[in-house]
């Protein structure tokens, strides 16, 4: 079965600092990978996705992610964090086209 790990349960950064959230997956073939954000009390919003092609993908809100097959990783980055980025971030992979398998999530706190 597919699995996704997010090693960091909680990360705190200062506003304006750079951010990297880690995601590792287990998959034999090329995975379909996603990053979603969940603001407090809200549903999940897609930030970006990787299906194939360029391994650096751009998303909304200034986020980007890089797919590295050799490391089985799909880390999310942002050069300068804003206070409104405080939320829960989920990495997910597609389970053979049937459903998503989500990582456990990383909670991001932003210090003023």
């Amino acid at each position: 079965a597919q699995s996704v790990t997010q090693p960091d349960i909680h990360i705190t950064v200062s506003e304006g600092a750079s951010l990297e959230l880690r995601c590792n997956y287990s998959y034999g073939a090329t995975p379909y990978l996603f990053w979603y954000v969940q603001s407090p009390g809200q549903g999940l919003q897609l930030l970006l996705k990787y299906f194939s092609g360029d391994t650096l993908v751009q998303g909304i809100k200034g986020f980007e992610a890089e797919f590295k097959r050799s490391q089985s990783s799909f880390n999310l980055r942002k050069p300068s964090v804003h206070w409104s980025d405080a939320a829960e971030y989920f990495c997910a992979t597609d389970n053979y086209g049937q459903n998503f398998v989500f990582g456990p999530g990383t909670r991001l706190s932003v210090l003023p």
């Binding site: 379909y32 809200q42 999940l44 897609l46 086209g97 049937q98 989500f102």
Partner: protein
Amino acid sequence: DTAVSQTPKYLVTQMGNDKSIKCEQNLGHDTMYWYKQDSKKFLKIMFSYNNKELIINETVPNRFSPKSPDKAHLNLHINSLELGDSAVYFCASSQDLGYNEQFFGPGTRLTVL
């Protein structure tokens, strides 16, 4: 216009009751899903339907029964509610099965007392 909507947003009920959560999508998608998010924020698939046909039924108690009257709706019925059913339930939809982005509803927070 909300793409994926769920009602109610909050549901508080007593143990043993039967309740339903409704989900509707206006995206014209063929596939719909129910996910459960527990208190630790862990998200897990419960069911998926494609063109009103059940595709996935994960290890979920049979007290949970999804019903899809048409492609735009996937409702979740829960019988004999237990304390452990307290969670946030998310409905989602995608264009069809297979490697597509999923669009999520706002969630329904179920609290069983």
